[in-house]
C-alpha cells in the first residue's frame, strides 16, 4: 500500500504534503514515543493520539514516512514545518485509534514483528 491509498482509505481531511507513491512497509500504533522508538521500522507509518513536536522528532529518528493523527487532531504549523524538513507526511483521520488500526490491519498492513511471528 502507498501513502495515497492510505489517505483515501482513512478519509483524511488533512494532509501536510502531496502524498506520493511512497510504499508503506509496516505500522506502529502507540501514544508512547519510547515504544515507537523501540518498535517502529524504517519506512513505517506511526498511528498516534500524541500531537506534539516529539511525535515528529520520534518519526525522524526511526525514519518513518508518515504519521497519522487519529480522532481529527490537527498538527501545529511548527510540527508541519519540522515534518516537511524531514520528508514525513502528516495525515489526520476522524477515525479513532482502534478503528484506524482495524482498517489498516484488514488491508494486510501489520507491524513487522507480528508478520515475522507468522512466518
Amino acid at each position: 500500500m502507498n501513502l495515497s491509498e492510505l489517505k483515501t482509505l482513512l478519509n483524511c481531511p488533512f494532509c501536510s504534503q502531496q502524498t506520493s507513491g511512497k510504499e508503506v512497509k509496516s505500522i506502529c500504533a502507540s501514544d508512547l514515543m519510547s515504544e515507537v522508538l523501540l518498535l517502529a521500522d524504517r519506512d513505517s507509518v506511526i498511528i498516534t493520539n500524541l500531537v506534539n513536536l516529539q511525535a515528529i522528532r520520534t518519526a525522524e529518528m526511526v525514519e518513518s514516512v508518515c504519521i497519522i493523527f487519529v480522532r481529527g487532531k490537527s498538527p501545529t504549523k511548527d510540527m508541519v514545518a519540522l515534518a516537511e524538513k524531514n520528508g514525513i507526511t502528516l495525515l489526520v483521520t476522524e477515525y479513532d485509534m482502534f478503528e484506524t488500526c482495524g482498517i489498516l490491519y484488514g488491508k494486510g498492513l501489520k507491524h513487522k514483528k507480528v508478520a515475522h511471528d507468522n512466518h
Binding site: 501514544d31 515504544e35 513536536l53 511525535a55
Partner: protein, 142 residues
C-alpha cells in the same frame, strides 16, 4: 575518515528543541555514509538520553565522537541525579510526573531502550550532582 567530534547543549524543559542534538548527529552520520540500521540504533539511544535530560535533569550536554568503527556518545547533566540506577534500568520503572507522560515519554523505557540499542552502556549517577550516560555503538561491516 578522521574522527568527528560533535558537542551540543541540552536545556531542561525546552521541548521545542528537544531532539535537535540527535537530529544533527543523525544528519552527520548520514552524510558520512554510516549504515542506516546502525544510525537508527545510535539516534534512538541519543534521543532517549537527550529526552532524559530535558525531562528529568537540569541542563546538560551531549558529546558524540564518531570514528570509522564506532560512535561514542556521552550525555552529562547537572543533576539532580538518579536515586536508584538499577531500578531505572528496569523497563516500566519511572519517576516522571504526569505532565511528562502526557508528552509521550516517562513510561520507564528510556534507559532500557538505550541498553537494547547499544554495544556498551555505562550509567553513573550521584545525587544531587548529576548523571552521565555513556554508550558506544559499533559499526559492524559486512
Amino acid at each position: 575518515m578522521t574522527t568527528i567530534e560533535l558537542d551540543f547543549d541540552i536545556k531542561h524543559n525546552d521541548f521545542d528543541r528537544a531532539g535537535s542534538a540527535s537530529s544533527a548527529l543523525k544528519n552527520t552520520l548520514k552524510q558520512i555514509g554510516y549504515p542506516p540500521d546502525i544510525i537508527k540504533r545510535i539516534v534512538v539511544s541519543s534521543y532517549e538520553a537527550e529526552m532524559n535530560v530535558v525531562v528529568h535533569a537540569s541542563d546538560g550536554h551531549l558529546r558524540a565522537v564518531i570514528t570509522p568503527d564506532e560512535v561514542h556518545v556521552i550525555v552529562k547533566d547537572n543533576g539532580p541525579g538518579i536515586e536508584n540506577v538499577e531500578m531505572a534500568m528496569k523497563e516500566g520503572y519511572s519517576t516522571a510526573p504526569e505532565r511528562i507522560r502526557e508528552l509521550g515519554f516517562g513510561a520507564g523505557m528510556g534507559l532500557p531502550n538505550i541498553k537494547k540499542n547499544t554495544d556498551e552502556l555505562k550509567v553513573n549517577s550521584t545525587v544531587p550532582e548529576g548523571t552521565t550516560v555513556d554508550f558506544i555503538v559499533r559499526r559492524k561491516n559486512g
